[in-house]
């Protein structure tokens, strides 16, 4: 009883100061509120996600987003700066995989990753998922598939009417991104655009390209 009376007598500001000092000292003891080293992974959830393939984005979906000017996602190029400068998908940002967790990405953003093939983006996907990033997606097939399907779509001579119609659309998309649609006749490959300049099969005609976004077709790993 005596003690309570004594406390009541003390000025409110003194009490508040005492509380603040107590909490401050506790903070000093705790020292570091963050715990970045330990990561909790719900392995089951991740496995289900991988199985359901909900984390994939196709190249045509991505091309569609870019053409429509969607901006609710961030497109991340995981390749080296040199490769990025050589060619990158429009609207992408270059964050090499080693810098991925340096704090440029926020946990709630919709993130689409791509690399040369698909392996690096899958590995980066796992890193981000482990760090509790919510919406992380991978570009299926990566840069290679972007080259094959978007920049240099091909039409074989024995294509059906349906395939030809699809090729028309693909050609328009390809030209939008500065690529070149190709028509394969037998063993020869011609360009569907003007100045047909037959070049060997499966070889992107870099020489005849109209400048713009020409690129070397690389067939290397991730």
């Amino acid at each position: 009883m005596k003690f309570l009376e004594l406390i009541q007598k003390i000025d409110l500001k003194i009490k508040l100061a005492a509380i603040a000092i107590f909490l401050g000292f506790t903070a000093f003891i705790i020292s570091n509120p963050f715990d970045n080293s330990i990561v909790k992974i719900n392995a089951k959830d991740l496995a289900v996600m991988v199985q359901a393939e909900v984390d994939h984005v196709n190249v045509d979906e991505l091309a569609d987003w870019i053409i429509k000017g969607k901006s609710d996602y961030r497109l991340i190029d995981l390749r080296t700066e040199k490769e990025y400068n050589n060619y990158n998908i429009p609207t992408s940002e270059n964050i090499p995989i080693t810098n991925l967790l340096d704090g440029e990405l926020f946990r709630n953003e919709k993130i689409v990753l791509y690399s040369e093939g698909g392996i690096h983006s899958a590995q980066a996907w796992f890193l981000l998922k482990a760090k509790d990033y919510k919406n992380v997606y991978m570009l299926r097939g990566g840069m290679e598939e972007w080259n094959d399907k978007i920049l240099f779509p091909k039409l074989t001579s024995n294509a059906t009417q349906e395939e030809k119609a699809k090729f028309e659309i693909a050609s328009a998309i390809s030209r939008y991104f500065g690529g070149q649609p190709q028509i394969v006749t037998g063993n020869e490959l011609t360009l569907s655009v003007a100045n047909p300049n037959p070049t060997p099969k499966i070889q992107a005609p870099a020489s005849s390209s109209t400048g713009g976004a020409q690129k070397k077709k690389k067939r290397e790993g991730c």
Binding site: K13, A17, A20, I21, L23, G24, F25, A27, F28, I29, I30, S31, N32, P33, F34, G103, F106, R107, N108
Partner: protein, 201 residues
């Protein structure tokens, strides 16, 4: 500072404006109740006769700092979702001095001028018009000062990293500093009051 909940997509951008409105009204109400809608009270801070501004600022800093520290420690708050501006040392020092001069001359800072205008004070309304004119001028001359505006960029700097101390240590030091400043302010106010009344208690 952007609220972390917004980034979790818990509510839409439109609804965040409603929340901002509610918080803003609460903030303004607290300022008005604290006497911050009155230019005389605010300006007396600079003559050390009324240390209210310093006390309110330090109370707010200590409360928010302790709150954030323990929320993070308990895992309730994810600091990586909170937005911080970069440190551009020289432009920010210059900007702070300009704001300070305006504060002494006009008797308000931008936030308190809104409070003052809202309660119908004419000087507050005029100050607010000046703020808007300043924003307009700044926007128009921005291309000329853009280089300076982004100069001496240090990235996101935090005191604990910069000084090489732990977060808890900084928190403790700031609390001690605030309590010390409080005590000094109260002592100073008593001294000034005595001086004003001609040495008679």
């Amino acid at each position: 500072m952007n609220a972390p909940f917004f980034k979790f997509d818990m509510f839409s951008a439109d609804f965040s404006l409603v929340i901002a409105f509610a918080i803003g009204i609460g903030f303004g109400f607290a300022l008005e109740r604290g006497g911050f809608g009155n230019a005389r009270i605010l300006a007396s801070q600079f003559y050390f006769t009324d240390m209210r501004v310093l006390k309110v600022m330090f109370s707010a800093i200590v409360t928010a700092m302790l709150g954030v520290f323990f929320f993070v420690a308990f895992g309730w708050l994810d600091l990586s979702l909170v937005y911080y501006t970069d440190t551009n040392l020289i432009p920010q020092v210059v900007g702070g001095l300009i704001l300070g001069v305006g504060f002494v001359v006009g008797g308000y800072c931008p936030g308190t001028s809104c409070v003052s205008a809202a309660t119908g004070r004419i000087d507050g309304v005029i100050y607010l018009l000046g703020v808007i004119a300043g924003i307009f001028v700044f926007g128009e001359i921005f291309p000329l000062i853009e280089g300076f505006y982004y100069s001496s960029n240090m990235g996101r700097v935090f005191l604990p990293d910069y000084l090489g101390l732990s977060y808890g240590m900084i928190v403790f030091l700031v609390v001690l500093m605030a309590v010390g400043a409080f005590a000094a302010a109260e002592w100073g106010e008593r001294k000034m009051a005595i001086k004003k009344s001609g040495g008679v208690k």
